[in-house]
């Protein structure tokens, strides 16, 4: 084994890694220059630079209301699912009751059941309840899909937390509720927060369920995009996609930073 052999190994590894990354994110990045196009159709490479499609994005009612709706639903989903998911994770990690593994499987099932199946089922139910095309309806649907992310993230935090700390709190006179508030919750907060961010993202770019549950008067951003792509195909979609990409990236980076700082000790 010579040094030069090792060096070549390394170069090849880096090259291969770079190719994989390009394959994964290349398509997303192609969108970015198309949004700044001076032409009137989506093309690559764009003929020139212009901000006209960004202007159209912020002035068109369809796009701005789509933004507002998506944001409301995503925030509500993040809040509701992080509360429910945290409680569920706590019950699954600490509780002793029959059927615990079944409950665990059911809670995590949205991760494996085809989304279309879930969407059709919800559509049938929500039409009867008359909550299609509302913030409440879509929030409920997205919460069901997002809870698993919170459960997984919080469960990980709970597993790495020292159980003795909860015993110590009880020993020092804290009731179970106060133990949770003063000891457990502060220590699993990074997990809760990461879960909430993933819940936000999962709702923010969710399209399948949203297509079923939105109406002409209530559209989320991804459904507006879907519609526009089929009808007009102007580069506004690329501009919107770029904004989505930036927001998603920022949220993910925040999540990563939290993860890194998570270990309190």
């Amino acid at each position: 084994m010579t040094d030069s052999f090792r060096r070549w190994n390394r170069v090849l590894l880096i090259l291969f890694g770079a190719l994989c990354i390009l394959f994964l994110i290349g398509p997303s990045l192609v969108i970015v220059p198309m949004g700044f196009s001076s032409g009137s159709i989506m093309e690559f490479p764009p003929p020139g630079f212009s901000l006209q499609w960004y202007e159209k994005m912020v002035t068109s009612a369809a796009w701005t209301s789509g933004f507002a709706n998506s944001f409301q639903v995503a925030v509500a989903t993040a809040v509701v699912s992080s509360v429910l998911g945290t409680l569920a994770a706590l019950g699954l990690a600490r509780g002793r009751f029959p059927g615990r593994s079944i409950a665990n499987a059911l809670i995590l099932s949205p991760l494996v059941v085809p989304v279309v199946v879930i969407a059709i089922g919800m559509f049938a139910l929500f039409v009867r309840w008359k909550i299609t095309g509302t913030v409440v309806g879509l929030t409920l649907a997205h919460t069901a899909l997002a809870v698993p992310y919170v459960v997984v993230s919080v469960s990980t935090s709970l597993r790495t937390m020292d159980r003795n700390l909860e015993m110590a709190a009880a020993n020092l006179g804290a009731s179970p509720v106060r133990t949770f508030r003063h000891v457990t919750l502060p220590l699993i907060m990074p997990g809760v927060f990461t879960g909430a961010l993933f819940a936000f993202l999962s709702s923010w770019d969710e399209v399948v369920v949203a297509i079923f549950l939105t109406t002409a008067r209530f559209r989320t951003l991804p459904t507006v995009m879907w519609e526009q792509v089929r009808q007009v195909v102007d580069p506004t979609v690329a501009a919107v996609a770029t904004v989505l990409l930036v927001i998603t990236t920022v949220v993910l980076m925040v999540a990563l930073v939290i993860r890194r700082q998570a270990p309190v000790r």
Binding site: N164, N171, L172, L187, R265
Partner: protein, 382 residues
Amino acid sequence: MSSHLAGRRPPGDRPALVLRDLEKSFGDVAAVAGVDLEVNQGEFVTLLGPSGSGKTTTLRMIAGFTVQSGGTIEIDGTDVGRVPPHKRDVGMVFQNYALFPHMTAGENIAFPLQMRKLPRAEISRRVDDALRLVKLDAYGPRYPRQMSGGQQQRIALARAVVFKPALLLMDEPLGALDKKLREALQLEIMHISRQLGATVVYVTHDQEEALVMSDRIAIFHDGKIEQLGRGEDLYERPVSLFVADFIGESNILHGRYEAASGLGGGWVTGEMGGWQVGEAAGARAGLAGGAAAALVVRPERLRLIPRTGEVPAGVNTVDAVVTDVLYLGSTRKYELQLPNGQAAGVRQQLGRGDADWHPADEVRLAWDVDAGVLVAGKGGQG
């Protein structure tokens, strides 16, 4: 130390802790199989035993972390068997400290006081007193991760006593520390618990620690207390082969017991000879004639004498061959082999003019009849 930490409650005549026939099984396995124990006010009692002997499970039942399968637990005369841990008024120090990592040392110590909704001024005064008690006055604003293991354990101790619990429990609190620090903290814990008049139940598997710190020691074996007494009782008068073997070093000679006619005491006869048993030792063991028995002699009670020459009356002997001589500073330790291949050890104080022996020397081990302790041998009381 300021008045409100010292001397917690008037020592009543009732015991601080009473365990009666305490049991705990996990499935078919009995971790604790009938423990009876009374701890007096202000007493320091250690539960000592190998791992799996039930001492930690017993402690966890007293704290309320584990619910007993049978028996009762009384703290200060109140049955707490069904009381949840946060209402038991018991302080506990954990082996891994269990300090809350997101709180400073001061906030950790304040926690039990806040849970009891004490006024803020009172809390800060008591926290300061507790920090002074463990000699970490300036460490209130530090986080646990900024402190050494020994400092963290002292904060944990302060947190466990600051609310003046009826009982202080410690679960191998020094197990994670190195030897030097462990010895220093042993003394400190002793002094602090005496200063506060605290009643302490302490769990350890380190016999030296138990001997140094405790008023009384309970030796745990197979989920039961095998012997309860002062360190000296356990060392000088073990009631069983297990205790004799567990506490200190022992030389154990197996055989059958025969009571001497008329007088107390008797003989243990084995394959290597017969040895006389003192009157007191014979009476304590209460063995039936012909029972499997073992004679226990501590290494410092044995002497080495030449094979030739008279054996004085009142002295037992057994032949041995020196295998190793270890110089240990104030003492010299001889490792020997008995005729049946069993190993034996003798500890000799230096500077007493005793003869020197060398490996391969053929000698006799000699001990006064009264230095031998009789216990039931393998196979029980026969």
